[in-house]
Structures are given as C-alpha cells and as structure tokens.
Amino acid sequence: MTETRGKVVGVNGNMVSVEVDGNISLNEVGYVVIGDKKLKAEVIRIRGNRAELQVFEMTRGIGVDDPVEFTGELLAVELGPGLLSMIYDGLQNPLPELAEQCGFFLERGIYLPALNRTTKWTFTPKVKAGDTVTAADTLGTVPEGIFDHRIMVPFDMTETYTVKSIVSQGDYTVEDQVAELEDSKGNVSQLTMKFEWPVKRAISNYEERLKTGEQMVTKLRIVDTFIPVSLGGTYCIPGPFGAGKTVMQQITSRNAEVDIVIIAACGERAGEVVETLREFPELTDPRTGRTLMERTVIICNTSSMPVAAREASVYTAVTLAEYYRQMGLHVLVLADSTSRWAQAMREMSGRLEEIPGEEAFPAYLESVIAGFYERSGLVRLKDGTKGSVTIGGSVSPAGGNFEEPVTQATLKVVGAFHGLSRERSDARKYPAIDPLDSWSKYPGSVDKDATEYARNILFRGNEVDQMMKVVGEEGTSLDDYVIYQKGEFMDAVYLQQNAFDPVDAAVSVERQQHIFRVMMQILASNFNFEGKDEARMFFNELRQKFIDYNGSEWDGDDFKKLEKAILDQVESKKSGVDRLAVDILETTKA
C-alpha cells in the first residue's frame, strides 16, 4: 500500500470516481473500502486529482466519501510452480478454493493466493554461489507434472547479479527463500520460487523472435490440411451463435499437440466451462498418459461474473502462457470469446464518456486487439531452446455478420481465419468451418498445390450445386454432375469429422497425409458413368466405405482392407486421370 489515499466522489455502474491526495499511476490497483470489505479496482483515467477506477466487483453499496487505498502496483499475476491444472477467475483467484470458503456463490471482496502456500516442491539448483545471472535465467528446477518447471530470476530484475547463496536440493514451498542475488551496488534481493508480473506487459526476456513455420497439429483434418496454424501463430474462429465455436475450442484444447493449453473462458456460459472442468480430469492425454487437466490452466470469467475482471482475464491467460514459454514449452491460449472482452472495453469506454467509434466500440479497439494477438510468437530463449505462444480466439459477431468491428479488427492481425457458418451447422456438418471462405497464411501438412486442386473441386462443385437448384438435375450435364458429386464426397469424408467417433475424433498428420492421397486419386480420376443415377450410386457407395475407413484403426487390418476396397471400386470405373492433376499425384505420392 502507498501513502496515497482517496475518497469516492461518484459511482456509475462498475466505475467509481475518486478524489486522491497524492501520486497514482495509470492501471494501478486500488481498493475501495466498504465496511469490512475491500473491493479491488484499477485506475483507468486520471484528471488532476480526480481518478476513475473500474471496480472488479459489484458496486452496490459503495457511497460517496468511502475511502480508497492504493497499492502502487499494476494489476499483476503470481507466477511460480503450481499453476497447471488450476481453475482461476479473471483476477487469478482459485475458484475451487473460493468455493470451499464461500459455498455456492462468489462473494465479493475475497481474494485468495493464486499459488498454494503449503505444497512442497522438490527444488534442484542449476547455479552455484558466485555465478552471474540476469533476468529469466534459470536458478533451479522443480518437477511440475511432466515438465521441469524452471525457477527463474524475476523478469523485472534488469541488472546483472551475482548469486550470493542458493539452497541445496530439497523440498520447499513457494514462499521459502531459495536464493539471494547481489547486484553491482551490493544490494541483495531474496528470492522465493514465486514472483509477480503485470498482466498488461508482454514478457520479452528472450533472445529473438523467430519466423513461425512449424505446424501446430490440431488433429482436425479441415484445419491441418486446408487452413493450418503454426506454433507461435494466431488464428480466429468467428461464427454466429450455435455454430459450434465453443465445441471447436474444446476439441482443440483436448487434441492440440502442444505442451500446455490455457483456456480463457471470457464472458461465455458457465455451463461450458463446467464440462471442461469436470471432464478433463477424467480424460487421458495420449501424448503423456496423464490426465488432460495436468497440462491445462482454466481462466474462467463467465458472462455473469463482473465485467471489469472479464477484461483482465484474457491478459491473465496470455501472461501465464508467456511464463511457460520462457521454459521452452509450446503453449496454446484459447480465448472464448474475444468479443465479450471487446464488449467489456466498450462498456467501460461508455462510462468514461469517450467519443465512440463504430458500433460504440472505443476508437482504440483495433490497437488493443492487435496488441493482444501480437503477444503470440515463436521465440529462441537465451539458452537456445525454443518456446512459443499460439493464440486462438473465438469471435461472436453480432448477428453473425463478419463485417462488424471486432471481427474486422481481428482479421487484420491473425494468420488464419476459421470462419464458421450457420448453414453448415444447420445441416449438421461438423466442424462447421466454411471451407471456401476460410484462409490461412501458414504452411500445412499437405502440399499447397494439392490442397488448391481439392479446394477448386469443392468450389466448382458448389457452383454446380447452386445451378442445379435452378435448372434441376435434369438440366445439368453429366460432367458437371460428377464434379458436384466429387465435391460432396470430399466434404463428407474429409472436411467433416465425427467428434464422437473414438478414431475419427482425432486424426494424426501421418494419417491425414495418407488418406488425402487416397482421396486425391478419386478426385483426380475421370470416370465413365452411364448416367447420373450410376454416378450417384457410385459415390454413395464410395462415401460409405470411406466413412468406415475413417473410423478404422490406423494401419490396422480393417484399414487396409477398406482402403483396397475403395481403390478397387475406383479402378472399376476409372477412365483416366485429369491432366492437371498428374503432377500433383506425383508429388503427393511420396
């Protein structure tokens, strides 16, 4: 707490105006005191001796002249071992612990330590007395789940230090002193395993930022093959309500091939978080054999929780991600939904009576969104290892219209766009990503020429479909009809994926490449059909086989048998290969 004191002079929704008698800084944390409760708040505007604070709690009961205390510190999170598998609110309050204390409801004004104070961690020192260290250097490690959690020199210690003392290997809590560092002037800092970092400042203690390129595998065929995401990249999932944004995020949080997943449930339904909350501890991560929860952190600020904390929650999530990135890990942040975060900004901006931009969003919306997504990235750390933060944000555009400000501001800064369509979700085609509108700037698991060829068939098939709606099947040529059938076929067996099928739910890259080759042979073939009925029957049969093929164990007997059946059926009607596809077939053969 600083010397500065303030008193409330106005209340408007979750914003309070405060008269202060000393120095305060922007984004500093203060507490409004009512009775025996202290409500956390953040300074968002200063004018003379009057400051506006957004309160992270319900403001009912605050009166004029209530005292306000200031901490002198920015809104920060606690970093240290024990973050994994935690469930926090937007301000890093552990929710299960809060429930133990308060029961069913979230009582305001109660703040618990983010890291457990009594858990003992086995610390192994990596430096010795006399060594010189700088910020983010590793002092030692503790095992956290399957990872070696690096205990680092706090990121805000900007000088070069000499290690004065370091404890020997043993069990310590996060509050026990593990090292003493001395700077050039002889000042000594005592360090524990935890330290704080302000959420709105990016952590930049790495050697250099690298160009992204390595794929982040999601095990969704349509994503990995057609609209891939790279480690350290960004992507967004806009879609109208009911199109399956949250389900997509859930599936990705399960299957993505990354070390750690941080889920920011920002202003969405509580029910959806509960599913993750209850299911993840039961599900095994196929990569490690441990539960999925052990690689997950959930930041949960659902729609009925205070709005100001919602704004903080995405920053809390990305800060935790950057922290683990500093350990050479690949971290995925899933923010659902960034629109709610933008709306929280809009609410505050309205209360500050700022001049509104489009749809009343503040004029700084774009730069704030860009600033958030730019916290992603692949980096080389000082010890040479690589770590990354990948950000995937869902967007909930008003009325499902992608022209609105949040979607547009997001599209400017992301590397991939996975647009969901109501049409596809209504037709129960999942994942409901629109294969024609969506795009990605990242390299994928399949050669670009090949995916372009496949996408072209889809495009033309769609055209024929539109035409057929007008002229009927009778008025369509057989060649066009076959292209339409090929497009439908590809949609059904490759783009759609059954999330409830144990095999089809998650498809490895190896398998994707393999079955893409098989599908390519079908797409590139010319067939000699008598008429449309025969073509329809042919593709129906082929589709059925392919769906069974998709559901069979990778490289198992069934898999091989079905593959042969598919290829035999193709051979039986094949009359040649599309001239344009010859080269592609050659390159994808490998």
């Binding site: 009961g61 209850r278 659902t302 809009r346």
Partner: protein
C-alpha cells in the same frame, strides 16, 4: 438513516436527481408525490448529486416532493406464503391477499461459482413431443422461445407451466398485455397449477422501471426456493420488453448507445439474468424458459442475437409450431441416452426424414416430377406435422416414441428409415413387420 429531502433538482423521464449525502449506490428511496408514494433506486452518484429511477415513473412528480432514503437496496419477502400469490415488479400484491414483509432477501445477488456447478443430468418432462422427443428440456437449462408478436408463445408457456414435471413455477411477466395476464391466471387456475405457482407480473401499462425488477425479483425468489431443494421453473415473458425498458433508461441517462439504441452492456445484463439457471448439488435447481419476440422476425436483432449467445439452444415458434430446424436444445445429448434406447434414433431419424419431406415439398412446388419416394415422404410429412408437432397434446415421452414408430411404419418400409437393424427388430410395429417380410 432516514433523512428526508424535499427538493428535487432534476426530473428527466423516469429519473430524478436530488442533492443528498451518505447515500449508497443501489439504495432505495421513497418518493411522496401528490399521486401517491413510489419506490426509487439509486443508479448514479456524482458528488452530492444522486440520480434515481422512480419505479412508478417521473410523471406528476413535483420538484417540491419528499424523498426519503431507506438505507438499503431492493429487497423482497421470501417464504412459502408466496406460493399461489400474484405480485407486481416491486413485490406489492396484485391479488387481494395481504402484503408480505417478513424475511426480506436481497435481489440481484452474486453469481454462482463455476467450480460448484455440475453437469446437467435430469430431463424435465413436459408432455409435449416436440420438446420431450426432439429438443429435450434439461434441469438448469436456460432456453428462449424465439417467435414474432402474435405467435402463441404465452399459450405454450402456460401449457408448459401446467404440464412440466417440476416442483414449482415462477411466472415473470414483463410488459405483459393485461389480457395475456388474465389468460395466464385463468389457465393456471383451471389447470390446478396455481398452488405451485408464483406470479410476478408487470403489465404493459405499468411504469417501465418496474419491469426491470421483475426478472431479478423472480430469480432471487427462485434461488431461495432452489436452495431449499425445490426444482423451480422460471418463465420469463417477454425478455424483449425487458431489453427495451433498459434501452429507455439508458437513453434517459444519456449513455452512448451501441447497437440500434440498446446500451453497450445488453449482453452482460441479459447474461446476469439467464445465468441464474443452475443445478445446486445437494439441493434444487433453477430452469429458465424465456419468450423473446424478434422484431420483424429478425434473429439478428440485438435482443435475440445476444440471447442466442447466452442461452443453451432455442425453440423457434412459427405458425403455432415449434420448428424442428433451427430449434435446438444444446443439453439434450446429456439426458436423452438415459430415457429409452430408441430415443436418439427416433429423434435423428424422424427429423432427417422430415428434412427430406421439405425438399420434396419444394420440388413439388417448383413443378418437378414426384417419384414413389417423394410420395411416401409427402405422406410422412403430413402425418408428422399432424401428430408430433401439435402443441396441445400431453403425452409421456414413451408414448410419443411409440407414436413415432407408428408413423414410420405407416409411411415407409423398415429398411427405408435408415435406422439401425437391432432397433428395428425391437420397436418396428409387429403387423407391419410381417407384411413386409411376406412382401
């Protein structure tokens, strides 16, 4: 603190401002005017300027009227005596019963800790096949009925109120037409459901500020009953009126409007109400069904749009029927595997065939030739609409499923339905089956 102020500085719409000290945000006051006494709630503090929204509206209030601060926020009496009673938005009786003043509880309390929520697990039977079979209502679900003005959404709600297998009903009427209110009351009295119902009714002619209180009051009472172990179904009709009232106050307070004049926090405000739906582990539950009229049948209008993002699915009511496409209960998968083994198959199968029927119907209207299959579908579609989509029936789920099999058997051969063979063996109506074997 019972300070009395006798000078009102500003009166603007339903909002008055007085110069006062020691007032807290959200506090209540009474305003004595020539037209009677009204409650008012503090909605902004700025130095000594205290702005309040007056529940009965600003009309007729004089600058010399008396304002008395009560020193607490809005409260409502809670006890079993509420059952069977009818109140307005401020909790005053609308029937001829006594005013209740004991055991006051706060309204608009904190939200439930997500870590204490459980995955929904119990179906609520309503006896309406379009709900029970195709879009099952689940305890703790929040679901709006999207429709346009003129659709019988209130009839549907009162039917659900009478038939739903829950412990009690709270009916929250917001901007209800007086006739509709009387109809509700009459139907529930006749149906014998009045004793397990509480009404909080704001009619269209009542002051709009009161309508803002109705959902909060209803849900605060529901929450207390749920904590006592009751399974409560809250019916909100119509939430578009609620949003419109919010818009009116926001504009009066000179807030910057965001979309079509609605305040920027519309989503948060609606969510704060809908998210009260919960299943308390070891106690009762709250389920919310709300009517949301879509101005101009436009689902992208801010109110239905924001609602859709909050709720767990939606029912579309069109032409007096729950539309099978678009309507979705997002939680149905959690319960419909435990009802009867053919439930999911019938649900998917019948809708798939109904979709095919719609296509055939379209083809027919465009003058394309109808094949044998098309004719079968046309027969099926007609039977489906007549039997399953009728909202006035009241049959248990099992009977509805049997009816589904009957319709299928009347219209199709077993292998045309695309249903799994083991289910067909078990449920396909017998006589029809024999006929088919011989055929």
């Amino acid at each position: 603190m019972q300070k009395v102020y006798s000078k009102i500085d500003a009166i603007q719409g339903n909002v008055i401002t007085v110069t006062a000290s020691g007032v807290r945000y959200g506090d209540l006051a009474t305003v004595n005017s020539a037209h009677g006494t009204s409650l008012a709630e503090v909605i902004r503090l700025n130095g000594t300027n205290v702005s309040m929204q007056v529940f009965t509206g600003g009309r007729g209030i004089s600058t010399g009227d008396e304002v008395r601060f009560l020193g607490h926020s809005m409260k409502i009496s809670f006890s079993d005596n509420l059952l069977g009673r009818i109140f307005d938005g401020s909790g005053r009786p609308r029937d001829n019963g006594p005013t209740l003043e004991e055991n006051l509880i706060e309204i608009g309390g904190p939200s439930v800790n997500p870590a204490r929520r459980v995955i929904p697990r119990n179906m609520i039977r309503t006896g309406i096949p379009m709900i029970d079979v195709f879009n099952t209502l689940v305890e703790s679900q929040k679901l709006p009925i999207f429709s346009v003005s003129g659709e019988p959404y209130n009839d549907l709600l009162s039917r659900i109120a009478m038939q739903a297998e829950v412990d009690m009903i709270i009916l929250a009427g917001i901007g209800l037409k007086y006739d509709d209110y009387l109809t509700f009351r009459e139907q529930l009295e006749e149906g014998g459901a009045m004793a397990r119902t509480i009404f909080f009714v704001h009619t269209a002619s009542d002051p709009i500020v009161e309508s803002l209180l109705v959902p909060d009051v209803s849900l605060a009472v529901a929450e207390k009953f749920a904590l006592k172990g009751k399974r409560v179904l809250v019916l909100l009709t119509d939430m578009t009126n609620f949003a419109d009232s919010m818009k009116e106050i926001a504009i009066t307070m000179e807030q910057v409007p965001s979309n079509r004049g609605y305040p920027g926090d519309l989503y948060s405000q609606l969510a704060a109400r809908y998210e009260k739906a919960v299943d308390f582990e070891g106690a009762g539950s709250i389920t919310i069904l709300g009517a949301t009229t879509m101005p101009g049948d436009d689902v992208t209008h801010p109110v239905p749009d924001n609602t859709g993002y909050i709720t767990e699915g939606q029912y579309y009511l069109r032409n007096g029927r729950i539309e099978p496409f678009g309507s979705l209960s997002r939680l149905k998968q959690l319960v419909n595997d435990k009802t009867r083994e053919d439930h999911r198959a019938i649900m998917d199968g019948m809708i798939r065939l109904y979709a095919a029927y719609k296509e055939s119907l379209e083809k027919k209207s465009m003058g394309f030739r109808m094949g044998e299959w098309d004719n079968k579908l046309l027969k099926y579609g007609e039977a489906f609409e007549r039997t399953m989509m009728d909202l006035s029936v009241n049959i248990p789920l099992e009977e509805a499923l049997d009816k589904g099999w009957e319709i299928l058997a009347e219209c199709f051969d077993a292998n045309e339905t695309g249903l799994k063979s083991d289910l067909l063996r078990k449920f396909w109506p017998k006589q029809e089956g024999q006929r088919q074997e011989s055929a």
